[in-house]
């Protein structure tokens, strides 16, 4: 067949040889032609843009490296050279202060441990391929803050006796409520009458003691009113009743709730023991903290406290209960409507006025309360975005399975919603991290604050000190924020795969 010449004439039987693409469309030249010089206008723009970039880059390099002063003991080194650039000896001399503030020299290992442990835990948490996420999260959200608290302040807190009683009271009261909730209220009440009666009397006595002053007796190294003591005793008895009753049950859900509760209670007791224990660490007051340490403490505390608060507020805003929803909306909108600086002023000026007479907050703690409430409002909106993205079907399916509200949220909705908003949370953290600089306005020395304050050190006053200091501050903030924003992008892409439809 093939030998017979076709009547139509010549037909090509094999592919023509592949020609290389025209030289002006491939390789560096082609790339430049399409991306840089595709039209006269574009060529002009390219040249202008490139010269602009080179001009800026050269300016920075010239100032920082070529004209920069690298060695010296004090300002003389930087003042002596005419038309000098960056004053680096100032940075070398002050760098420790930029990181630790006035934290005592011989105690700085404590800060270092916190930095290192935090970095390692965070890095392993951030890498999606590594296992034990749950435990890591638990460590980061519970153990780590506790550890840093004890390490940085020195622990050995002097809890007043009333605080201890208060916490004990809450614990005992919860011992009644939690197992009750695990069974459903009606069933729980029917089967747990003695405990309930005891607890009811206890609460009544406690309530009465608020309004009627009772005689006090010495106990536990302090004074305690008879009413408090009585209600504590009653609550203990109630707790025994209810625990004893629950322990014998075979209901798996109830048992696990009970187990979780026992775990939580022991954790709380452990926390109390830890913060009050004397580890032989020197007490370091927060006034001595400064620099990067304060920046990180404010940002991390802000976000860790804002997360649970924000979730609660977001749930509240979507709640069907009018009062709860109204409260959440007002709370969120008020905090989001005012600038952080007024919140910080409010925290530093008005918070002491809100407290009962004599009760007093540490300055740093006040700023922390302010930032935590502020970022909780923003976090709530982020989380709300995630909640709204969960299809209605998920809620309906959960309800159809007979799950209660909290179980539906805990088991079905929140795990999905929080996963979606991870990039949002990271972004919230970035803006909080940048916003921590505002605490300098209320007189705390964060990274920017301590750099700003160092300008007035007579030992280092020179025309370039300010610029160099700001340059270092900008660089440090930029590195942190840029890294985090890249991470957020990475997570966004990674998480996006789960929701995008691939193929059919």
């Amino acid at each position: 067949m093939t030998d017979v010449p076709s009547p139509q004439g010549w037909v090509r039987t094999e592919d023509a040889p592949r020609l290389p693409a025209p030289p002006n469309t491939t390789g560096p030249v082609g790339w430049m032609l399409t991306n840089l010089f595709s039209s006269p206008m574009n060529s002009v723009l390219t040249i202008l843009g490139a010269s602009f970039v080179i001009w800026i880059a050269w300016g920075v390099i010239d100032w920082a490296l070529i004209r920069g002063v690298f060695t010296g003991e004090d300002r003389e080194a930087c003042v002596a050279v005419p038309d000098s650039g960056a004053c680096w000896p100032y940075v070398w001399a002050k760098f420790h202060q930029f990181v630790y503030g006035f934290y005592p020299f011989d105690q700085r290992w404590r800060v270092n441990i916190c930095f290192i442990v935090g970095a390692v835990a965070l890095a392993t948490m951030a890498m999606p391929s590594l296992p034990y996420k749950k435990w890591n999260a638990l460590f980061l959200l519970v153990v780590y803050p506790l550890m840093t608290f004890v390490l940085l302040t020195g622990g050995n807190l002097n809890l007043s006796s009333s605080t201890i009683y208060f916490v004990t009271g809450v614990l005992l009261f919860s011992s009644l409520v939690v197992p009750l909730a695990a069974f459903g209220i009606e069933d729980g009440i029917r089967r747990n009458k003695p405990a309930l009666v005891l607890a009811g009397i206890a609460v009544a006595i406690w309530l009465v003691s608020i309004f009627v002053s009772m005689p006090e007796i010495a106990a536990f190294g302090g004074y305690i009113s008879i009413a408090t003591l009585a209600s504590l005793v009653l609550l203990t008895a109630a707790a025994f009743f209810s625990i004893g009753h629950r322990a014998s049950t075979r209901d798996i859900a109830a048992r696990s709730a009970l187990l979780g509760w026992v775990g939580a209670v022991s954790a709380i007791i452990a926390v109390l023991v830890l913060v009050t224990a004397d580890f032989g660490l020197v007490q370091v007051e927060t006034q001595q903290w400064g620099g990067l340490l304060v920046t990180l403490v404010v940002a991390v505390t802000g976000i860790v406290a804002a997360l649970p608060l924000g979730i609660l507020l977001a749930l509240g805003r979507r709640s069907k209960m009018v009062v709860v929803r109204l409260f959440s909306i007002v709370f969120i909108e008020v905090w989001r409507g005012v600038p952080l600086i007024t919140v910080l002023f409010m925290a530093s000026i008005m918070l002491p006025l809100f407290m009962p007479e004599g009760v007093n907050f540490d300055k740093l703690l006040r700023a922390l309360v302010g930032t935590a409430l502020f970022s909780a409002a923003y976090m709530a909106e982020t989380v709300r975005g995630g909640l709204q993205a969960i299809p209605r079907g998920q809620y309906e399916a959960a309800q159809a399975l007979g799950l209660s509200y909290w179980r539906m949220m805990n088991l079905i909705v929140l795990p999905q919603a929080l996963k979606i908003v991870i990039p949002g949370i990271v972004n919230a953290f970035i803006s909080l991290f940048k916003d921590t600089t505002l605490v300098l306005i209320i007189g705390l020395f964060d990274l920017l604050g301590i750099i700003n304050a160092s300008f007035s050190d007579p030992k280092w006053v020179s025309p370039q000190t300010g610029t160099t200091g700001y340059f270092v501050a900008a660089l440090m903030f930029w590195v942190f924020c840029f890294a985090m924003s890249r991470y957020s992008l990475f997570m966004e892409r990674r998480l996006a795969t789960g929701h995008k439809r691939r193929g059919i």
Binding site: L45, M321, G337, V338, I341, M350, D435, L438, L448
Partner: protein, 394 residues
């Protein structure tokens, strides 16, 4: 049917399991808690204030302030009241926010469009801008610009002279001051008439196009009305304006109109910072309009300019406007950082008033009230706009 079900159910539904009762109980408990907390705060505050011989009252606003302010949009001297001082601060906030929003929008749109440029260098410059500016704290940038405005500029004696019309020094930009003479009010009226006229013409042109298909260049006509009418009035009145020239005398320029270095630094920092966010919004907005829209417009015979104006931009704006408004609000709130560089905005003036009068609670309440009102107005606008541009599905 229903009767059968009713019989099948237990007659008595326990109160504890009635969702309505439970929800009501939870709400009552919650409300009581909130009320108790509020009462506790109120009680403590008044007790603490009573201890200091103080009480919350706004009467102090009418006493003499006794300090001076560097930038006064309205008349203010040391003999004015605290109220006026706060009002001056509020107006200064509006000034910085207004100018900042204007500049931030322009820069933001330019950078956003640059990011989408086919030119690699231009796109990368825009990306670099966004990544650099977004990741550095605003306060640091304000400090930077303040130093950058103050340091390289000469003192007032050696100021940079722009044809004797404006002088740039580290005391700011001093320029001509317009002093409007008699009859200037008419120019304002003419301007308002022009704006109204432009609206009317626009409406008329739209209706005519819908009815007859004929087009009318309402944009140019409107612009002509807005600029032309006041200009005409101005000329007819014989140019009732005189200029006050700044003159260097003693330490500083006397007379003229001064733009403070603090204002320049603050506006620069705020608009450059906010522009990096606006750029991202603009980029996302334009990318959100699918290419099919452009192709459809082309296939209908629209050329590229009307395509952009009539098809792409209106759809992009729908995506852009809501986050843009919240950026405007952010800029306004961020202008409170003025306190760090001595620009007398609302927060700074409130701080001074608090220091001089010791009225912390009142001042914080005033701050909250004003900023919350601004937010509410903005979100009201946003809701209105969203309702207006909502896709009407058929």
């Amino acid at each position: 049917m229903t009767a059968v079900i009713d019989e099948a159910r237990p007659q008595r539904v326990s109160l504890f399991n009635d969702p309505k009762v439970r929800s009501l109980a939870a709400q009552i408990i919650f409300a009581l808690l909130v009320i108790w907390l509020g009462y506790e705060i109120y009680h403590n505050t008044s007790a603490n204030l009573a201890k200091l011989n103080k009480s919350v009252s706004f009467g102090f606003l009418w006493t003499t302030a006794g300090f001076d302010i560097i930038q006064r949009p309205i008349e203010y001297t040391r003999d004015s009241t605290y109220f006026r001082a706060i009002l001056v601060g509020f107006l200064n906030t509006l000034i910085v926010a207004g100018v900042g929003i204007f500049l931030a929008t322009i820069i933001g749109f330019i950078i956003g469009i640059m990011r989408l440029s086919s030119n690699w260098v231009i796109a990368k410059i825009a990306t670099g801008y966004v990544e650099l500016i977004r990741n550095i704290p605003l306060l640091l940038q304000i400090f930077f610009w303040y130093a950058a405005v103050l340091k390289p500029l000469p003192g007032p004696k050696e100021s940079v002279n722009f044809f004797d019309l404006a002088f740039l020094s580290n005391r700011g930009l001093v320029t001509l001051k317009f002093i409007w003479g008699e009859g200037s009010g008419y120019i304002g009226i003419a301007f308002i008439v022009g704006v109204v006229g432009a609206f009317v013409v626009g409406h008329w042109a739209k209706r005519r196009q819908e009815l007859t298909g004929e087009q009318f260049h309402s944009f140019w006509a409107g612009l002509g009305l807005i600029i032309g009418l006041p200009l005409l009035t101005f000329l007819m009145l014989g140019g009732p304006v005189t200029f006050e020239y700044p003159v260097f005398k003693g330490f500083n320029f006397v007379g003229g109109f001064t733009i403070l270095p603090e204002l320049i630094a603050l506006v620069l920092a705020l608009s450059i910072y906010t522009a990096s966010f606006i750029a991202e919004i603009v980029r996302a907005g334009i990318m959100a309009v699918s290419h099919g829209q452009t192709e459809a417009a082309h296939s209908l015979g629209l050329r590229s300019q009307p395509t952009l104006r009539l098809v792409v931009i209106p759809q992009a704006l729908r995506v852009i406007i809501p986050p843009l408004t919240s950026q405007y609000l952010n800029l306004t709130k961020n202008s409170s950082l003025a306190v760090a560089i001595a620009y007398p905005d609302l927060v700074a003036m409130g701080g001074v008033v608090n220091n001089q009068s010791g009225r912390a609670v009142e001042v914080v309440l005033i701050w909250m009230f004003i900023y919350l009102s601004l937010s509410l107005v903005t979100s009201a606008f946003m809701n209105w706009y969203n309702a207006r541009v909502r896709l009407v599905e058929r």
